[in-house]
Symmetry: C2
Subunit: 220 residues, 2 copies
DNA sequence: ATGCGGTATATCATATATCAAATAGCGTCA
DNA sequence: TGACGCTATTTGATATATGATATACCGCAT
């Protein structure tokens, strides 16, 4: 008998909004009006308001001076602030994870590297992005540090929407999977420092590919 | 004419609760009952609930399976999870900060190191803790990365309450300010790598002093 | 003494009404 | 035409009532 899982409306609204964020449904700087969202989701304003406030507390949304809540526009400055943090935390995660892989885990990781390569060969940006994320989190989860995983997940939610620009960069397209292979090799060799190094390289290269796409500071 | 700053009840409740957290007013694992807090603060349940949910979203509070909200008890495991993150982020902040100090900033930092030493000489734990925090954040703020500063601030909110145990450790009492002096020297020399290294040492030494005080995993 | 069922109570979650604040729109005046 | 004042409207914030869920307590049967 399957346990009945109760989920509050607030939690469900939160998840729906978060999915919408990930899918880029909400335009940056466009007010997310509580009453409209409530009507759209067929529930009252309260759980919507709670879900929005929660996303604000998680810094995925911001409150403007007129109190409306919006998806922040990614700016060059914010992007530059986030990158060293990602390098630092994701490098740490790769280092912590390195000694925690079973042969089965390694096999899975190998398959992911291959599938990433395949997606790139076919210029399949959408699949690439999904698999890239899967590859990275297959490693970060092995770090065995829930707090760290959560922080990294939050970071990805913030910068995720701009990853779609990665395929615009020819250098990136050609070298993107090199670092994945280097990371994999280091992990297989149990070389935590190397894994950290190549993970940081991967993030650095991606950041350099994306930076030209970042708008100058907000001109709202 | 001073601008009239409007602050919502929800924001004010949030700040009051956060202050309470910092001062250790709320016992770990003791339910924070919305109605009681609302009565105590003289406002309705809604802004209290919002403030609590916000603190949950920031992971400073947790929701138990029975839906009550509590301050999580710091466990050995959580502590061990948080420390490498602190080492990583606060080391990064020290490194980023190193080239951003004016002579006046350095003077201020020097005074703080002296005052920390003074508090230790007088076995003044309370003053020590305040000044220690002030010293650290004087540096982190110089990193010029608001996202990073926020993350570090959050981490300090989580582990802050257990810092009171630092004075219990004789080794720590004797060596605590050594690293501060090393950090200061590195910053004055503009040596970002050294500043990072000594900052990480400082956090590491403090963690080792605190670890014996950490209870085994939750036995609620 | 223990386990079970039912009821009462406590407390969270949600809906709704109302209040508070911001903005839009309109008319008037210089 | 632009600035100002006023009103209406929109939208967030809060209060309150009610629904939903969890827990405590009691009585009864074994």
């Amino acid at each position: 008998m399957k346990k009945i899982e109760h989920q509050s409306l607030s939690d469900r609204a939160y998840q729906a909004l978060k999915d919408g964020l990930q899918e880029g449904v909400f335009l940056p700087m466009q007010p997310m009006v509580i009453r409209n969202l409530a009507a759209e989701y067929g529930i009252s304003a309260t759980p919507i308001r709670e879900a929005l406030q929660r996303l604000v507390a998680e810094r995925l949304l911001i409150v403007l001076p007129n109190r409306s809540i919006v998806v922040p526009r990614m700016t060059r400055e914010l992007f530059l602030d986030l990158m060293p943090i990602r390098v630092s935390l994701e490098g740490l995660a790769a280092r912590l994870a390195t000694s925690n892989f079973s042969p089965k885990d390694l096999e899975k990781l190998e398959k992911l590297v291959q599938r990433v390569a395949n997606a790139m060969t076919h210029y399949d940006a959408k699949t690439y992005l999904l698999l890239n994320r899967e590859f990275h989190f297959a490693i970060y989860e092995k770090a065995g540090n829930p707090e760290l995983l959560q922080l990294i997940n939050d970071l990805w939610l913030k910068v995720g929407p701009v990853f779609t620009g990665l395929f615009d960069d020819a250098y990136f397209r050609e070298h993107a999977n090199d670092e994945h292979q280097n990371i994999l090799r280091a992990i297989k060799a149990g070389d935590a420092e190397a894994a950290q190094h190549y993970m940081q390289q991967d993030i650095d290269i991606a950041a350099k590919a994306l930076l030209p796409l970042m708008p100058e500071d907000d001109v709202t």
